[in-house]
């Protein structure tokens, strides 16, 4: 019906238009109807993404790899300076520039790109979007979850004074996120990378009068800035190494991730290649809350719950995963970088799960769970180019469903319980809110990785990929250890998710006073998205895995295709042993949770006491003291240095300036008494001077 180009443009522009509309008319005209344009636009964007996906899929079936680039306009051009220098050397004036080339005419200096080397090219950035399997999958996931969350928010945010503001930000976020995943050069990726960060900042601090929310927003932005520092470094290094920032091949030469380079394998290895990857990883760690930059995500739960579901669980935080998958060819040339990704992911997964096991704030449990699951994805990406990337993306998609579901469920509980989120104050809600209860259970089981729910398949794929790497002959690699860490994490995941479930929905009914005595199931606009997401969490994994379509579809992305993805490699179902181990871990975790929180409080007390004795409990409850370490090692020293610099500036540097300024006056003051008008003094000085003169004459 629509061409690929139109669809690709529609996806981001619809939310953008809705945002502008809401921003303009929200406070006055729309007020409580502010959701209408945004929800409508996201729904249409979702349909457009689906259409896009179908078209890309059709194209892929006919050829090995597929991408479609839409170039909108040129953002900036900076000519290479060499032409000026050359002309100066020849003693002529600089030509060109007399007319502004406004259109899309090629730059003057591209006549002889080959002879000038990769770094002598013009800097030219175009607003270019791309459609390929990877983007298409991301677009559908993002708009699907966004649509459900937007619908949910209609009920959840109802009556909030910032209603229009909320939907404006949501629209802006969907625009930025869809642009992020369809950008076709590093600069544009960076631009929207920061733009989603801005939306996150604005939405975390949505209730800005709460000091915690304001502080959390700032923290999120700053920690992300540290990550972006790495990302920017990587982008600069990519420019100096490859002389281009485009993903795709263009008129000016091969792109960084284009088919030409991928097929010839002309990627920089060595120190530079590894450095680029590690800086990219630093950026990804910031956005995707990986060790050591994960500290902002738990605090980000100060924002409204739908935001936590959409931005801080399902979509934005997965941008790091997307970026690493997108740059997979760069990582493929550096074993060190790949192993670092895996180690970071594995450790983060374990740490997140350990912390989540002892928290009492339902949203924070889910936040640490998100950190842990993102760690899983990175573990998958680190496991290698072939199966790992697909597995990571697979987990990204299923995680978006079940973690979105869990957050929305938590929001539903909060909504009914007057904002109480401490699981110790809740209990036995399964009768009060049945829909929330059972959908939440599905989410928990999917997260725990129980057969045949979504999480089982994707987690299994990741563990299988790691297992495969662990079995490879060669020098000692971390993969074997990481595999076992992954299994332990799987058990812990099952434990903490069911622990939260039992706390809230089982046991004696316990409803906090804030609920106001009329605790009830949430309105239809909130439960319908829950049910839809629950269905998705139930079946998506099995469907995508058994049909084998996701893996082979993703492998048609040009950059992934060139890595040697064979279309059937990822779809192998032959890792039964891994499945058995992970299922055993999950069942163990669930059983332990049931024993501790439903069956017998004595077991619970015993386990907690044992953990306390080991010191593990404190470590987990205090989140490994990472925040405190940052405070002591970075924030305070820097603030101290800042204060010292301020003091230095006032007292020393400016003091010196004042000293110099004072000098003429001071000198004058010193000499002034000599010119006091006393004739005898003058006579005396004259006499002394003459004597001195005579004396020197006599001596010589």
């Amino acid at each position: 019906m629509f061409s690929l180009k139109v669809l690709l443009l529609l996806v981001p522009t619809l939310p953008l238009a809705a945002t502008l509309l809401t921003a303009a008319f929200g406070p006055g005209l729309l007020r409580n109807r502010s959701h209408v344009p945004v929800v409508l636009a996201i729904a249409l964007a979702f349909l457009a993404s689906l259409g896009l996906l179908v078209q890309v899929h059709q194209e892929c079936s006919s050829c090995a790899s597929f991408e479609h680039i839409v170039t909108l306009w040129t953002w900036a051009v900076v000519p290479s300076q060499d032409q000026d220098v050359e002309h100066l050397a020849r003693g002529t004036n600089v030509p060109g520039g007399a007319k502004l080339d406004v259109g899309d005419s090629p730059p003057l200096t591209d006549k002889e790109p080959a002879s000038r080397g990769p770094l002598r090219k013009d800097f030219r950035i175009e607003i270019a979007l791309r459609a390929d399997p990877l983007s298409a999958v991301m677009l559908v996931t993002v708009t699907f979850v966004a649509l459900l969350v937007a619908v949910y928010s209609v009920g959840y945010m109802h009556g909030d004074p910032g209603y229009w503001r909320f939907f404006t930000y949501i629209g802006l976020f969907v625009f930025s996120m869809t642009m992020l995943v369809s950008a076709s050069n590093f600069l544009l990726l960076y631009v929207f990378w920061e733009a989603v960060g801005l939306c996150s900042y604005l939405l975390i601090g949505f209730w800005y009068h709460k000091p915690e929310a304001a502080a959390a927003g700032k923290k999120a932005f700053l920690v992300n800035r540290v990550g972006d520092f790495g990302f920017a470094l990587a982008v600069f290094l990519i420019w100096t190494t490859y002389g281009s920032l485009d993903f795709h091949d263009g008129l000016a030469g091969p792109g960084v991730l284009g088919e030409q380079r991928c097929s010839s394998g002309a990627f920089a290895g060595g120190t530079v290649g590894t450095a680029i990857c590690l800086f990219l990883l630093l950026g990804a760690c910031g956005k995707s809350a990986q060790l050591p930059l994960h500290v902002w995500l738990p605090d980000a739960m100060e924002g409204p719950t739908p935001v936590s579901a959409l931005i801080h669980a399902a979509t934005m935080v997965t941008a790091g995963v997307y970026m690493v998958v997108r740059c997979a060819p760069l990582f493929a040339v550096s074993v060190d970088a790949q192993q670092t990704v895996a180690v970071v992911g594995g450790l983060t997964a374990l740490m997140g799960a350990i912390i989540a096991a002892s928290q009492f704030d339902l949203k924070r449990i889910l936040a640490y769970s998100t950190i842990s699951q993102l760690g899983y994805m990175f573990l998958g990406l680190g496991a290698g180019a072939a199966a790992g990337n697909t597995a990571g993306m697979f987990h990204l998609v299923t995680h978006a469903f079940f973690k979105g579901l869990l957050f929305l469920g938590a929001g539903s509980v909060m909504h009914a319980m007057g904002g109480v989120i401490d699981i110790r104050r809740l209990g036995g809600l399964r009768r009060v809110m049945p829909v929330t209860c059972w959908t939440f259970l599905i989410g928990c089981l999917a997260l725990a990785g129980v057969f045949p729910l979504a999480g089982f398949w994707s987690k299994d794929a990741i563990l299988a990929a790691v297992h495969e790497r662990a079995g490879e002959p060669g020098p000692a690699s971390p993969y074997a250890t990481l595999y076992w860490l992954g299994l332990v994490t799987a058990g812990l995941t099952a434990f903490y998710s069911l622990r939260a479930f039992f706390f809230v929905f089982f046991g004696p009914e316990q409803i906090p006073s804030e609920a106001g005595g009329h605790a009830h199931e949430s309105p239809r606009s909130m439960t319908v998205p829950l049910v839809i997401l629950a269905v998705a969490s139930l079946i998506a994994g099995a469907w995508l895995e058994l049909s084998g379509s996701l893996a082979s579809f993703l492998a048609s992305t040009p950059s992934l295709h060139a890595l040697g993805h064979s279309k059937h490699a990822a779809a192998s179902g032959g890792h039964l042993d891994v499945a058995a181990w992970s299922t055993a871990a999950a069942i163990l975790g669930i059983a332990l949770a049931w024993l501790m929180y439903v069956r017998s409080p004595n077991v619970r007390r015993g386990v907690v006491r044992a953990m306390e004795a080991l010191g593990l409990y404190r470590l987990s409850a205090e989140k490994f003291f990472v925040d405190e370490m940052y405070q002591m090692l970075i924030v305070w020293p820097l603030e101290g240095v800042a204060r010292l610099a301020a003091w230095l500036d006032r007292r020393v540097i400016d003091g010196l300036v004042d000293l110099i300024g004072w000098e003429p006056r001071g000198l004058g003051a010193l000499l002034r008494p000599l010119q006091a008008g006393l004739l005898p003094l003058y006579a005396l000085v004259m006499l002394l001077g003459m004597l001195l003169l005579l004396g020197t004459l006599l001596v010589s």
């Binding site: 306009w73 040129t74 953002w75 900036a76 051009v77 900076v78 000519p79 300076q81 000026d84 220098v85 100066l88 003693g91 004036n93 600089v94 060109g96 520039g97 007399a98 007319k99 502004l100 080339d101 406004v102 770094l119 800097f123 600069l187 960076y190 631009v191 920061e194 733009a195 801005l198 601090g205 800005y208 009068h209 709460k210 000091p211 929310a213 304001a214 502080a215 927003g217 700032k218 932005f221 700053l222 800035r225 540290v226 520092f229 920017a232 470094l233 600069f236 420019w239 100096t240 820097l638 603030e639 240095v641 800042a642 610099a645 301020a646 500036d649 540097i653 400016d654 300036v657 300024g661």
Partner: protein
């Protein structure tokens, strides 16, 4: 001389006429000032619109001014615009409108004089950027000091006298040296080429490109120019006049000081140092880069420790100007274009931020961060503008700051990774990474400011309750929103479509950069003596080289020593006369003009 020439002259001097009107009309001073400034802005927009691009100067207006008998000396009244000055010219016109609007109710004492001075200042600023003659440039350069001195000294806050005097003396001290260096340039050119003594910047640029000065002379001249321009910019450690002057100045003064007058320093580097003393720039470049990056990090750190909003923003200026100069001294196309664009960006955002601080001060009579909190709730429009301006200042993509910072940092990285000679690669790389870390620090202090002042529980100074305002505090009026909105339009425009701005400046910047880039490339060829020398401490070499060449060269000996020890300024014409009798009278004449 094209048809835009007279219009350019009219644009420059219209504010002066407006100043007379404003002074005369007393009651309606602000209205006449607003009308004048709007008119000037409109004319500058027409000039921008008419600019054809390319490297040629545009809207040139040229008249003989001081002609020595016999035509041996020509100081001309020559104004014109090119790709470098165009945007700074328009920026000055724009920020004057903003300055008038933010003073609207803040200035109650002697408004006639205030607005007259403001408009005179505008004439000075427009003139600096348009001047095509060394003497004319210097006259405008110095002339900007006078109105600003009175603006700070009379309408400033508590320590205004001290601030005004410090500001005046500090910048004056630098510009004396700059003037000597400029005269030295002119006389060198005359000494080599013969004929008449020309003061035309364009002519000097061309002739010095064809026939560069001796390197030792270049160094001396460069250092002289550096003294004045570096103080104006300001580069650390010559910056201490800036926080003081910014904090004490009335809002309009801060807006123009930060927005435009700091750019006169960077403009000077670009107009004179880069094209006229390229070898010296190439030689000093590593140290200049260190100076810039020191400013970036140091300014950001000091800003982090401030409790006064205005001081915080003043120090952020030090940091941002460090970025601009870093881009310029990276000596490549990306860097210089990013640097110049960042000059414009800084004018827009920091000018806007000072305006916002002024609006806060008008309402609460405090600038202390600790006195304020949660303003976003009751002043949503103020908060919105503040957030947009802050985000622009910390380089959020989509807004203007990002474009400049990205380009100039990319230029610096290019210099460090792709073009660095081995001896320098490590130091350049450290510089680039440190500069990038300044971006993180920048986000820290600005977001901390927003969090404390605009978010959290509502808090206003306790004193205020006793002051009993006559009417309740209001969010931004239409006038205030208009002033900030005007800036916001450009903030988004540059951020979203920088090409419109970059394309118009690009050819000129290429021309300005070429000699320095070439000199740098030449000096770092293996075997070049500069390459050998350059990694030893710069000033030591400068002196050594100077001494060396002074010994073995004839007629220019006196001249060089003058330029080097130009602190003893008055000696120049006299000593020059001993070796070259002809131009004495003229030189004296030019001094007299000053």
């Amino acid at each position: 001389m094209d048809s835009f020439g007279p219009m350019l002259v009219a644009t420059i001097f219209l504010p002066a006429v407006g100043a007379v009107l404003a002074a005369a009309s007393r009651e309606h001073a602000r209205q006449s000032a607003l009308v004048t400034s709007l008119f000037v802005f409109a004319m500058s927009v027409v000039l921008v619109e008419g600019f054809p691009g390319g490297t040629e100067r545009f809207a040139v207006f040229d008249l003989p001014w001081f002609e020595a008998p016999g035509g041996s000396l020509a100081i001309r009244f020559n104004v014109g615009l090119d790709g470098l000055s165009l945007w700074l010219f328009a920026l000055s016109a724009l920020l004057t409108v903003v300055a008038v609007l933010v003073s609207w109710e803040a200035i109650v004492e002697r408004p006639g004089t205030f607005y007259a001075l403001l408009l005179l200042l505008e004439t000075g600023m427009l003139g600096v950027f348009a001047a095509g003659d060394v003497i004319l440039f210097f006259i405008f350069f110095e002339f900007t000091l006078v109105p600003l001195f009175f603006l700070i000294g009379y309408w400033g806050s508590e320590e205004r006298r001290y601030a005004a005097i410090k500001f005046f003396l500090f910048t004056m001290a630098g510009s004396v040296l700059t003037f000597l260096a400029l005269i030295a340039l002119v006389l060198w050119d005359h000494g080599q080429g013969g004929g008449r003594v020309t003061f035309s910047i364009a002519e000097l640029t061309d002739r010095l490109a064809q026939r560069p000065m001796d390197r030792s002379v270049q160094l001396a001249v460069f250092l002289g120019l550096f003294a004045g321009f570096a103080i104006k910019v300001p580069l650390v450690p010559l910056h201490t006049w800036l926080p003081l002057a910014h904090v004490q100045a009335p809002t309009a003064g801060s807006v123009l000081l930060a927005g435009v007058l700091l750019k006169v320093g960077t403009y000077g580097f670009l107009r004179f140092s880069l094209p006229m003393t390229p070898d010296a720039v190439a030689l000093c470049m590593p140290w200049l880069l260190w100076l810039c990056v020191a400013g970036i990090v140091y300014g950001a750190l000091v800003a982090l420790a401030q409790h006064d909003i205005k001081r915080l923003i003043a120090y952020s200026s030090v940091s941002h100007l460090g970025f601009c100069m870093l881009g310029v001294f990276a000596l490549n196309r990306l860097g210089i274009e990013g640097g110049v664009l960042q000059m414009v960006n800084h004018g827009l955002t920091t000018g806007g931020l000072f305006a916002v601080v002024g609006m806060i001060y008008e309402r609460f009579h405090t600038r202390q961060i600790d006195d304020l909190g949660g303003l976003a709730r009751h002043f949503p429009r103020l908060a919105t503008f503040m957030i947009i301006l802050s985000l622009a200042s910390i380089g959020l993509p989509g807004l203007n700051g990002f474009v400049g910072e990205f380009l100039l940092l990319l230029g610096m990285f290019h210099r460090a990774w792709a073009e660095a000679p081995a001896a320098y690669a490590a130091s350049y790389r450290v510089i680039s990474v440190l500069a990038l870390s300044g971006v993180v620090l920048g986000a820290w202090y600005m977001l901390q400011l927003i969090q404390r002042v605009f978010f959290g529980p509502y808090r206003t100074p306790a004193v205020h309750a006793h002051d009993a305002p006559k009417q309740p505090l209001r969010d931004l009026s239409f006038r205030e929103s208009f002033a900030l909105g005007l800036l916001t339009v450009f903030i988004f425009w540059i951020g979203l479509q920088p090409r419109f701005f970059l394309d118009r400046m690009s050819p000129t910047l290429g021309k300005i950069l070429a000699p320095a880039a070439q000199a740098y490339a030449k000096s770092h060829q293996p075997g070049s003596d500069l390459h050998r020398l350059a990694w030893r401490p710069g000033l030591a070499i400068a002196c050594e080289e100077l001494a060396l060449e002074t010994d073995c060269r004839g007629p220019n000996v006196l001249f060089e020593t003058d330029a080097a020890t130009d602190a003893a300024g008055a000696m120049l014409p006299a000593s020059y006369s001993s070796s070259k009798p002809v131009p004495v009278a003229e030189t004296r004449g030019s001094v007299h003009v000053r």
